[in-house]
């Protein structure tokens, strides 16, 4: 298996992890709505995962950039830009005092990210298979 194959195998795994993170976020948000968890605990829990998620995604994008996978890189660049923008504006962390006011926005964002990771998961899988086939040829 060549470099491209390994890269996309790694990308598939990362996308799966990110996918699960988003599912976890969404479950936690609906828990909050149902009053199973209080906003302080929720924010403490989720805030642990915010930066790792962003870093993991940025790292993956960097890998694409370095290995010259332009299409994959361009696919991910907007999200990296969005994340960086959020960190610059210092509103990437969940704020327990505002969480109920912003909950619908957070949920929407998580769903969009979930969809994005899902699409990219299948794209990476497809690319991985392509790479493997082209190698075996």
């Amino acid at each position: 298996m060549g470099g491209e194959g390994w890269l996309f195998l790694f990308a598939v795994l990362m996308a799966a992890v990110l996918l699960f993170t988003m599912v976890f976020f969404i479950i936690m948000f609906s828990d909050l709505e149902c009053d199973y968890i209080n906003p302080i605990d929720l924010c403490n829990k989720l805030n642990q995962f915010v930066l790792p998620e962003m870093i993991a995604h940025a790292f993956l994008t960097l890998c694409f950039l370095l290995s010259g996978q332009w299409l994959a890189f361009l696919l991910n660049a907007p999200l990296v830009g969005y994340n960086v923008n959020k960190i610059m504006a210092k509103n990437h962390m969940y704020d327990a005092t505002e969480i109920f006011r912003t909950l619908s926005g957070h949920k929407k964002e998580s769903f969009i990210k979930l969809g994005f990771y899902l699409v990219s998961f299948f794209y990476y899988l497809y690319r991985m298979i392509l790479a493997l086939i082209s190698e075996s040829d």
Partner: protein, 960 residues
């Protein structure tokens, strides 16, 4: 559906096996009859599911066979009605000529299609017999004494009169049934009360400013909505009011009408006996009837069913058992009158909660004072005034059971703790200079019992200012001091009162002076209104968890970042107080601060509180505004409830509403400062409507203005001030646009701006709001003042908020002769004028006040006599503008002016004591333009005048 509820209370249906028919037994007398003892219209449906039809029970066996519990209603009725039982019901209708009216008007309701299914019929019917006798006893009824006499006479002659009564009873019921039947169709329109809609055209008219005090449109509840006819079944608007006094039945109707739906409440408002206000009635016997499913508290709008043994929740419709002791007077150990219970007669009541409502034993009130003793603070005199005020207030701090605890921490570049051992006469100081990892220097004696350590405390407060007199320390480690105070009182919870004269510059939560004048007036200005450091938010959450509230007293001579520091009070249910340019050597400043601080200390606070609003199924609380922490989707946590603080709660309709009225109930569970767990319950019922004109006719302009204020402030922080102002104006335009198209049904452009009569001052309030210091356009307003104004806008109760947005303006030199003198209701205030400088005369004396400041405007051609009379100065030229204390002189005019100022200061609930500023009409441009900026009907800088504002709104209306 049990049919037994169709019977008047006190009657029971029994199955007689011999005759194969129901026999009706009156429980109190044992009298029986075959006819259904209720309106014939209902009698037609035979009781088929009557509980426990004991076949063998002969009619004459009466009450002796029934289990004891079921006798309570009967016993209680006997108690009240002299043994007459429910025979008094028909009797009353006969005896009181005024009553057939009431009955007749009630009757069609049973056939109102709008009432929905049998569910809706049943409650109103079941309660009717219960409600009417009480109605007779209501204080408003003038026949009451006569009724009482007749009744006792009746009680003794019962046997003879019975047949007659019974006959007339039936006759009357037949008659009523007939009316009802006939009125089934026609009765609908006649029965449902509607608000009168009057359209007013605003353009070219001077607004009538006296209309700001008019009460909101009445709640036109269907008759029989409440079980008692008490006049107190709706809360005073100062406790709770709704932007609409009738509830739309669907969310789409609400969306279409563009009207906001929100509750505006100040549930823990203070009361003043001097204003003729009553304290909240307290239910002492801790019998708390709550719905099993929705946990609503019993209130005047429930219905009693099954002979009064069960009650049906007015919110979810679940039938609940009436608690055994509900009709029992536990003090005198005898049956009590259910209809006299306070929770069935008052919309605002307080229950004394039993131990199930406590997480821990009631905590004592705890006060931790964090006092800034840096050089600036000491020099401004703040420390001295604060210490003296605390010393003088030691007797007023709530301490009814001698459990109150106090701690004092002085802070500059290091933390100064004071050890105040019980019984000692001197305090000893412990200094901690490690600011990064705050620790308490001593485990005990820092937080002390107020009564036990009083001598040490007094001596400390007496010399606190002197102790730091010579310190030249610059710097303030407020954040660390707050953390220390939190450690100190966190185990118990309570209140931290922080007094600071400088920006926190050291330790945790250090802030920078970020007030860049270049940002003012730009879209970036809103960043100055948001917190600069996340420390104050995270710390606020910590505090809220541990039931600690923070009050901030800020004394700035320069920038103190009110926006950031006010985060702490905002999320811990405290309050921010700002004294810009405080200097205690000016007696006005010292008196203002000492008075307000003293009132805050003496405030009967509630501790460890949660607020929850419950409502009829279908209504959801969607957003919350105010000083608290939202702990779950509908639970507001307030470590300390201050009096007179306002909260706004937005409502949404999730489902269509079926009933003829809805009930909204606010419950605030708190510990009083004398160690009692209590629940204050505020119940409000609103009729429903499905018409947009009716919604407009029932809109409450003051509540809508309060709602818009909160929305605008929120918007100014999340977006920009420009956005916030547009939100207000657009919302107003949308509302009036819908009104124009849907209600006045005029289409196309119109030269007039049509508003409903009850909203005619809303445009004026909106105009005042967009020109208010908190939201105003301009690049000259310091961010501190803006933030503070916004903090006030979101916390002031309606009574103070309205003048804060729309100040009062009086002309003093030509006021009517009774103004300023003592009239029937205290000191008479002059006629309020329109807020326009057209009213200012060059020779006149005027007063403008917004609840926070009083401006006395002196025209430059004022005659020397006037100046002499009021200020005791020879001429206008001698007069100095600025903060002023009016002398009390020995002439009637001076006394009247002083009376008006004094009355203005105590006019409203709350702790604020406005400054008096004397404004000369030709000097001190800053002060002059400040006073003029309160005249909101005028054009100022590039802000539009009221007339221009109306034109803008009109264009929006025509454009839509």
């Amino acid at each position: 559906m049990s049919q037994e509820v169709m019977l008047p209370q006190g009657w029971e249906a029994r199955w007689d096996a011999q005759s194969n028919a129901y026999v009706y037994v009156e429980q109190s007398t044992g009298r029986s009859q075959w006819e259904v003892p209720t309106q014939p219209s209902y009698g037609s449906s035979h009781p088929s599911t009557s509980p426990a039809p004991t076949p063998a029970a002969a009619p004459s066996q009466g009450q002796s066979h029934r289990p004891g519990r079921r006798q309570y209603p009967t016993a209680q009725i006997q108690q009240v009605y002299g043994g007459g039982g429910y025979d008094t019901q028909p009797q009353q209708s006969l005896a009181a000529p005024g009553y057939p009216d009431q009955n007749a008007s009630q009757q069609p309701q049973y056939f109102t299609p709008g009432l929905g299914g049998a569910d809706a019929h049943q409650p109103s019917h079941g309660q009717q017999p219960a409600a009417s006798p009480y109605g007779g006893a209501a204080p408003a009824q003038s026949q009451q004494p006569g009724y009482g006499q007749q009744q006792s006479a009746y009680g003794s002659q019962q046997q003879q009169q019975q047949p007659v009564d019974q006959m007339s009873n039936q006759f009357q019921q037949m008659n009523m049934g007939y009316q009802g039947g006939a009125g089934a169709g026609a009765g609908m329109s006649g029965q449902k009360q509607l608000h009168q809609i009057q359209t007013v055209n605003l353009i070219g008219m001077q607004p009538d400013v006296t209309g700001l005090d008019t009460p909101p449109p009445p709640y036109l509840l269907p008759p029989n909505a409440s079980v008692t006819a008490s006049p107190h079944i709706q809360p005073d608007p100062s406790y709770q009011r709704c932007t609409l006094t009738s509830m739309p039945t669907t969310q789409s109707l609400l969306n279409k009408s563009k009207l906001p739906l929100a509750l505006v409440m100040a549930p823990y408002r203070s009361f003043r006996e001097s204003d003729g206000e009553d304290p909240v009635p307290v239910i002492e016997d801790s019998v708390i009837a709550r719905c099993r499913r929705c946990r609503a508290y019993i209130n005047p709008f429930v219905t009693f069913i099954e002979g009064g043994n069960r009650w049906k929740c007015c919110m979810c419709g679940l039938s609940n058992e009436v608690p055994q002791l509900f009709d029992w007077n536990q003090v005198e150990n005898k049956p009590a009158d259910r209809w006299a219970r306070k929770e069935l007669n008052h919309s605002v009541v307080e229950f004394i909660a039993p131990t199930e409502y406590m997480v821990r034993p009631p905590q004592p009130p705890v006060y931790a004072f964090v006092i800034d003793v840096s050089q600036q603070a000491v020099q401004s005199g703040m420390v001295a005034v604060a210490a003296r005020t605390i010393l003088e207030s030691l007797d007023n701090i709530p301490n009814a059971d001698s459990r109150t605890k106090v701690a004092i921490i002085a802070v500059s570049t290091s933390l100064h703790f004071f050890s105040l051992p019980a019984g000692a006469t001197e305090a000893s100081m412990l200094v901690v200079s490690d600011l990064s990892d705050v620790f308490l220097p001593k485990p005990v004696d820092l937080l002390v019992n107020l009564t036990e350590s009083r001598p040490a405390l007094e001596s400390l407060l007496g010399r606190l200012s002197d102790m730091f007199q010579d310190s030249h320390v610059v710097g303030n480690a407020l954040g660390s001091a707050l953390q220390a105070a939190h450690q100190l009182i966190g185990k118990i919870g309570g209140k931290i009162i922080a007094l600071t004269a400088t920006l926190p510059t050291l330790g945790e939560g250090a802030l920078k002076a970020r007030d860049d004048p270049k940002l003012l007036g730009t879209s970036k200005e809103s960043s100055l209104l948001n917190a600069a450091s996340s420390f104050y938010k995270t710390f606020a959450i910590e505090c809220s968890k541990q039931q600690v509230a923070v009050d901030m007293f800020l004394f700035s001579t320069s920038y103190t970042d009110v926006a950031t520091l006010s985060c702490l009070p905002r999320y811990t249910a405290g309050q921010t107080y700002l004294y810009p340019g405080f200097n205690a050597s000016r007696s006005e400043d010292a008196i203002k601060f000492a008075t307000e601080f003293g009132k805050v200390l003496a405030m009967p606070i509630g501790l460890e509180a949660v607020i929850r609003v419950r409502a009829t199924r279908g209504i959801r609380m969607s957003a919350f505004h105010g000083n608290f922490f939202i702990r779950s989707t509908d639970l507001l946590a307030l470590p300390v409830v201050p009096t007179d603080q306002n909260y706004v709660i937005e409502l949404q309709l999730e489902d269509d509403i079926k009933g003829s009225f809805v009930v909204l109930q606010t419950a605030i569970l708190h510990t009083t400062c004398y160690g009692e767990r209590r629940i204050r319950v505020i119940t409000q019922a609103m009729p429903t409507t499905d018409s947009i004109p009716e919604l407009y006719a029932s809109a409450d302009q003051v509540a809508i203005a309060t709602y818009l204020t909160n929305k605008a402030v929120e918007r100014s922080m999340s977006h920009s001030l420009d956005d916030a102002r547009n939100t207000v104006t657009n919302k107003l335009g949308e509302m009036l646009g819908v009104y124009k198209n849907q209600v006045t049904s005029s289409s196309g452009a119109s030269a007039q701006l049509a508003v409903p009569e009850n909203l005619k001052l809303l445009p004026l309030l909106c105009c005042g709001l967009v020109k208010h210091v908190g939201l105003r356009e301009g690049s000259s307003i310091p961010p501190d003042l803006r933030s503070y104004a916004q903090a006030l806008l979101t916390t002031l109760p309606c009574q103070s908020l309205v003048p804060f947005i729309h100040p009062r303006f009086y002309s003093l030199h030509n006021m009517s002769p009774e103004a300023g003198n003592i009239g029937d209701a205290g000191i008479v205030l002059p006629q309020a004028l329109n807020l326009t400088s057209e009213r200012l005369e060059r020779h006149g004396l005027f007063l403008i006040e917004d609840g926070q400041n009083i401006f006395i405007w002196v025209g430059h051609e004022a005659v020397p006599r006037l100046i002499q009379d009021v200020f005791d100065l020879p001429s206008y030229g001698e007069l100095q503008g600025g903060k002023y204390t009016l002398p009390v002189l020995d002439n009637p005019f001076s006394q009247r002016v002083n009376n008006i100022v004094a009355k203005t200061r105590e006019l409203r609930r709350g702790v604020y004591r406005p400054h008096v500023y004397v404004v000369k009409s030709d000097a001190e441009p800053a002060l002059r333009s400040w006073a003029l900026s309160l005249l909101i009907e005028d054009r100022m800088d590039h802000m539009s005048s009221y007339a221009q504002y109306l034109t803008t709104v009109k264009n929006k209306v025509n454009g839509s």
